[in-house]
């Protein structure tokens, strides 16, 4: 019929009424590397899970070699030669490297017993193509993130996959490691493997792919030959609107240094991290996943204890031993995972808002519900929360509105510094915009804001100053007017052997 090895038509997938994929298309030729691009939340990851059979689509057709197929589990797709390397390495941390590689295709004797010695030998052979530093008998958790990723690649290689899906494979690799990975991708393509490469990096796409497909807001936008589409057109396809519309940045009056971090180190996470944040400033802390940004924030907030280094607040050295200490000093954290760390889903919205400051509403040993409620109403108005009833639990709210509740909770405390860890992760474009408005408003009213973000446009669009981390160290610092996507990316992936040039600017 045609020369497509894999073809998906009009795929629709909803989760509890939320549309994750709305009629998307995809066509993959044999032996081609096809990049799949789009913003976070565009539906790429869900799409991959449909191809691999983790999720079943609500409607739509999937054709493999021109024949209609439907997968009920990943076993079905694996049997037909489809392998996926997921974005967050999905390994079995307590099991050995060998067992991780052979998961689902173990070598067994006729009686069904595992042939451990043979598996170890074969695992060693496969892994030696990628790295000679990985001991196949060690548990997965003892490896670094990059090494774990290599094991995942080895796993896919060992399966003789015809279609290989890689979900942001270069996200936590150094530039040099990326080059090695590109070579592996080339080699696989020359061997006739068809590859779907999900990536945020244009570099990956230009280096490896011949075609690119873009998704946006769960929809299919288009497919192009890589050499026939301009950068600008591609960005427009991905973002769908002008950049300054998306980021309503207003610069506040920037005052004195409020928070100062000096030579902060924590073994295994980050080393010698120093930066300053000023009153009214939005400071972006960016870098690749695993660069140590979240850990630095958790240390400032007292969740983790540093091995050395110090934190100053208004020029005074502070010793923060716990989140309660941090709150008492006026530092608040909006955690990356609001579902787990930010909200209590069993409690009504207003009680969530006052959860951290219950003492303020206690009269004669008893909680004054009216006072608590009134303060919550006042705060929810301030952040323009769209909720029918703040006495209902937050579970019915959209992601963006849930995030606003966490904001309200923070504002209820008497804070000076707000650390926002990926504040717009997993929320839709419209809600993002109102989160940015809130950030502007808070900065203007004198808060110091530290925003951890992986999204380059968000960093460039919202920050006053940008601190880039790479492999646990600060690898660059920019004033937003000097910063470009290229300069930040360079700092993100720069090899650490090169001397780090710190730019001190007021």
């Amino acid at each position: 019929m045609n020369d497509y090895i894999l073809e998906l038509k009009d795929i629709v997938k909803t989760f509890d009424g939320v549309t994750a994929l709305n009629g998307v298309q995809f066509q993959l030729k044999k032996g081609e590397v096809h990049a799949l691009m789009g913003e976070n939340g565009a539906g790429k990851s869900t799409f991959i899970k449909v191809i691999t059979g983790v999720h079943q689509p609500d409607s739509g057709i999937m054709m493999l070699d021109g024949e209609k197929v439907s997968f009920h589990s990943t076993v079905d797709s694996q049997n037909l030669g489809i392998a996926a390397i997921y974005q967050h390495v999905t390994s079995f941390p307590d099991l050995s490297v060998t067992e991780n590689i052979f998961m689902g295709q173990e070598l067994k004797t006729k009686l069904g017993f595992y042939r451990w010695a043979d598996m170890r030998k074969k695992a060693k052979e496969i892994i030696s193509n990628l790295s000679d530093e990985i001991d196949v008998t060690k548990p997965m958790r003892s490896l670094s993130v990059a090494q774990q990723q290599l094991v995942e690649i080895a796993k896919a290689l060992s399966r003789d996959a015809r279609i290989l899906i890689m979900d942001e494979p270069t996200a936590s690799l150094t530039k040099h490691e990326c080059e090695e990975l590109y070579k592996i991708v080339d080699r696989l393509r020359d061997d006739g493997v068809s590859i779907i490469l999900i990536t945020h990096k244009f570099e990956d796409m230009y280096r490896c792919a011949s075609r690119v497909t873009v998704f946006r807001d769960s929809e299919y936008i288009g497919s192009w030959d890589v050499d026939k589409i301009s950068n600008a057109k591609l960005i427009q396809a991905m973002v769908g609107r002008e950049l300054d519309q998306l980021y309503p940045k207003k610069t506040a009056v920037i005052g004195d240094v409020v928070l100062k971090v000096e030579h902060l180190s924590k073994e295994g996470y980050f080393k010698d991290v120093s930066f300053e944040a000023r009153k009214g400033e939005i400071l972006a802390l960016t870098g690749l996943v695993g660069a140590g940004r979240t850990e630095v924030c958790q240390t400032i907030f007292g969740i983790m204890q540093p091995d050395s280094g110090s934190v100053y607040l208004d020029g005074q050295k502070v010793n923060i031993k716990s989140p309660i200490d941090a709150l008492n000093h006026g530092i608040g954290l909006l955690p990356e995972d609001r579902q787990i760390q930010g909200l209590v889903y069993q409690l009504p919205i207003f009680q969530n808002v006052s959860a951290a400051v219950l003492d303020n509403f206690v009269q004669k040993g008893l909680l004054d519900n009216n006072q608590e409620m009134n303060k919550a109403i006042q705060l929810c108005e301030k952040i323009q929360l769209k909720a029918k009833n703040i006495a209902a639990p937050p579970s019915a709210l959209s992601g963006g509105n849930q995030q606003k509740v966490v904001f309200a909770k923070l504002l209820n405390c008497d804070l000076k510094v707000l650390i926002l860890d990926e504040p717009t992760k997993g929320i839709d474009v419209g809600a993002k915009n109102s989160i940015y408005e809130i950030m502007n408003q808070l900065a203007t009213s004198g808060y110091t804001i530290i925003m951890v973000s992986s999204e380059m446009p968000e960093v460039l669009g919202m920050a006053d100053r940008i601190v880039v981390m790479k492999s646990g160290r600060v690898s660059g610092e920019f004033n937003v007017k000097d910063a470009t996507q290229e300069r930040i990316m360079e700092a993100m992936v720069m090899k650490h052997e090169e001397p780090v040039e710190l730019k001190k600017e007021a």
């Binding site: 589990s73 990943t74 079995f92 017993f113 790295s131 000679d132 295994g268 492999s471």
Partner: protein, 343 residues
Amino acid sequence: MAAFPKTRTSAQKQESIFERILNYKQFGLIVALILLGLLAKFITPAMYQPASLVAMLRNNSIYAILAIGEMVVILTGGIDISIASTLSLSGVISTTLMTQNPSVPAIVWVIVSLAIGALCGLFNGFLIGKLKMTPMIATLATMYIYRGLAFLISGGVWLFPNKFTEDFTVMSQGSILGIYNITWITIILFLVAGVFLSYTQPGRRIYAVGTNVESAHVSGIKIGNVTVMSYVLCGALSGLAGVLYTANYSICYYGIADGFEMQAIAICVLGGVSLIGGTGRIDGVVIGAVLMSVISYFIGLLPGLSVWQDAIQGAIIIVAVAINIFTERMTIKRILKERGAMI
């Protein structure tokens, strides 16, 4: 392609025998066992009479069998506190049937007890694996249900030794090479469990589900089925423990083995089985079971201390878990240090 980060230069180095002994996960437990053994040598030499040791192993075999089943469930990240009730239900049914049909060979009652236990486990597994109930809640409920059924079926009646056939009691009380059959059965079960957990796909799937459910899901492992299987195995072992118990003591009553589930959990914890799931080895449980029996036996022989037995066992569990946490932290620290070399 040797250019990937060299973060574990020591990875390929062969460990010396000394290092391997030190790194052996159960090293601490074995040292504790030896120290306790030496202490006993001086304070209660009576423990070292062969008859004493053999009796000690016999009296603790039931705990060990229950601990094997409990371990399987804990490895998946679950827990089963209905095992002692399962034991009682299976013991009551098969022993009552035995007294009514004394001519039927004992192997039939073994099969019946395994089947009853497996059914109890299947129900637990259904609640937890399919209806997604919390393991603690589900098995708390079935703990009462199974014990209640045992009461109903037995009518609260005690069965005394005169009702037991010799064919039945020999299962536990007979001996080969001076060791009681019940102990031999326990040893065989440990070996089978060891092979099952290390060398078979269903056994390895139990670890896979316990260490990372999300990964198991995307790897196409049917998590619900693995969960159900683990509870069925645990139930079947508890059921088997039921006939072995009544055969061992020639007595049967619905209230037997009250509280044994905690003893089984304690053995697992002592043997280094993490309650989070995913980690724990059969050799640890073997040593845990032996250590637990030695402790209780040793304390039992001390004239003034025997009233303290429960409290001392509790204290020992705390110490053992504290040591486990400590070594775990040391391991994590070491891993971070090795990663730190990369920064």
